[in-house]
């Protein structure tokens, strides 16, 4: 029994790392622009379908699809940014509606192009089991876990050590002050979209490599990213990591002890629990009400 739990914890950490990439992208955009990109999950899924196409049409490994996915998703993100920045009034609300519309377009576009069938990678190499001590995992899970760790570390380095990253943090914490320091918030917003796109591309390739995809998954992914942000509490980046892993663990525990069909529900229950019991999330700062 303990082995099952430990195994579930291990799997949860692995999948959680990819969820973290999605949630971090969402948080980055929200931090700099105060906009929630409701199409975020769809963009991650787009990357997954790019990986699928590379594999099915060209016989290439999904890993090779990543550069292509990055380009495509970043272009899509840039377009989204362009449209969102055009909103004149009431941006908080209207950006929700706009990105919702974009999400619907993407979901149906993917439905048109790739049909409703469930897809996953056919690469045996990626699906091979790897044993590390007592823990089993798919090679793809392990691989993308390492990739995520590198990306997250890279993101941290970028945010704290580079001027571009510092500019992002400046705009996120105080837009007006940042402007006074000569930082162009529009550039920063675009950059945050692009970085989010980069992370999303990797996350999409990951999900295709160790999971299954279908056009409806986009909404699920957006919701998962949102649940993680609620778990984390407002404005907490380490919280996002913890939240992502927590979600991953919840899902894998549910799959192990109940059924895989219920794993999404388990994530939702976790979300409800946090909402009712810990409204500030695990790490959030208290709000005044």
């Amino acid at each position: 029994m303990t082995e099952l739990v430990l195994q579930a914890l291990w799997s949860g950490i692995l999948t959680g790392s990819s969820y973290a990439l999605i949630a971090l992208g969402l948080a980055l955009i929200f931090g700099t622009m105060n906009v929630i990109n409701l199409a975020h999950g769809e963009l991650v899924l787009l990357a997954a379908y790019v990986a699928y196409t590379c594999e099915s049409a060209f016989g290439a490994s999904p890993l090779l699809a990543i550069p292509v996915a990055i380009v495509i998703v970043c272009v899509a993100m840039a377009l989204t940014y362009l449209l969102v920045s055009r909103i004149r009034a009431n941006r908080e609300l209207n950006s929700l509606l706009l990105t919702y519309g974009i999400g619907v377009m993407l979901t149906n576009g993917m439905l048109l192009l790739w049909k409703a069938d469930i897809r996953s990678t056919k690469s045996a190499w990626l699906q091979d089991a790897v044993v590390l001590g007592p823990f089993y995992s798919m090679r793809s899970e392990l691989l993308f876990f390492l990739v995520s760790v590198v990306l997250i570390a890279g993101l941290w380095w970028w945010l704290t050590r580079t001027w571009a990253g510092r500019a992002v943090r400046a705009v996120a914490s105080n837009r007006e002050a940042a402007k006074l320091m000569g930082i162009d918030p529009h550039r920063v917003e675009l950059v945050s979209f692009l970085v989010a796109g980069l992370l999303a591309a990797f996350a999409g390739a990951a999900i295709f490599s160790f999971g299954v995809i279908q056009p409806a998954l986009g909404t699920s992914l957006t919701i998962k990213a949102f649940v993680i942000t609620v778990l984390a509490g407002m404005g907490s980046v380490p919280g996002v990591l913890v939240g992502a892993v927590l979600l991953g663990i919840t899902e894998s525990l549910t799959t192990t002890f109940a059924s895989s069909a219920l794993q999404e529900l388990a994530g939702m229950v976790l979300f409800l629990f946090v909402l009712f019991v810990l409204p500030n999330g695990l790490f959030g700062t208290r709000w005044r009400h």
Binding site: F30, V35, I36, L38, L83, R86, I87, A89, N90, E92, L93, N94, L96, L97, L98, Y100, G101, I102, G103, V104, M105, T107, N108, G109, L111, L112, T219, S220, T222, I223, F226, V227, V230, A261, L262, E264, L265, M268, F271, L272, L275, F276, P279, H289
Partner: protein
Amino acid sequence: MQRRALIGIALAIVLYALVPLAFAGNLYLMSMIVAALTIGGVALAWALLGNLGGLVSFGHAAFFGVGSYASALLVMKAGWPIGGSLIAGGVCAALAAVLVLPALRLRGPYFALAVLAYAHIFRIIATEWKGLTNGAGGIGNIPRFPVVFGYDFASKTGGYWIVLSLVLAFAAIYAWVRDSHAGLALRAMQHSEDATRAVGVNSQFLKALMLFLSAFMTGVMGAFNAHYINFLEPDYAFSGLWTMLPIVAAIFGGYRTITGPLIGAVVVYLLDQLVFKALMPIGHQIVLGALLGAMILFAPEGLLSLFRRRRLQQGGVPAAASRNA
């Protein structure tokens, strides 16, 4: 006052008598109109929550589905009469909204997402709780509307009259709330919540009330739909379309007014079914998404209001002084 009454009577005659007379032969068109009005009812409820409650929801499908299943199950498993079950469906949806209450604490965009998550949750529950809902297999042979005073309300025209009456009743309720003191307070709350609290307005309570009202109306629409279509399954009852179409309809027709969402629903739905679907049988929702995006960018107050504003400007009356239609 007299003119208003005359217009009201004329409108009632047109809607209740002339429309069925004109289209009763064309069953296809009648069922489109019924579906459009169903969407219209949800659009109205959605707009009410947005305008009065100041809350944007992306998960009204949750309330629609809960209402559908609640009504169907109450009739089929507990022997309830259909009329009462419609109301009960609405009540169950409002109860489901109780679960959404903690999300009210979240800032605007987060609330919108939270409701989206709820729609997801309910769909999964409906799919997995096979004992109650028969899971993905769905429920078939849901009882139709009964014969009353010799008239078969299960017919297309009967269904039309029922949904029309429901929608008009909801519009009347919306107007009544909007014009009440609570309605004034609700409108003020959106910009000046502290100021309203300082004069004794229980803003949390009023917002919650709007959430319940919106959920109730949507649930009743769902319940109506269940007995009209006579079939339910989770992916249909909780389909994202029941969220999407009302939103597009409300934005199209102008979500700040009461008639806007209704007119928008008829136009958008008929457009979608008769034009978009014909061009693009799968994925025709892309056009809807594009339409929504275009409206947000170029006409966020709705296309109808663009038209209205132009007329007002020509008349010389400042737009701000015009009361909501």
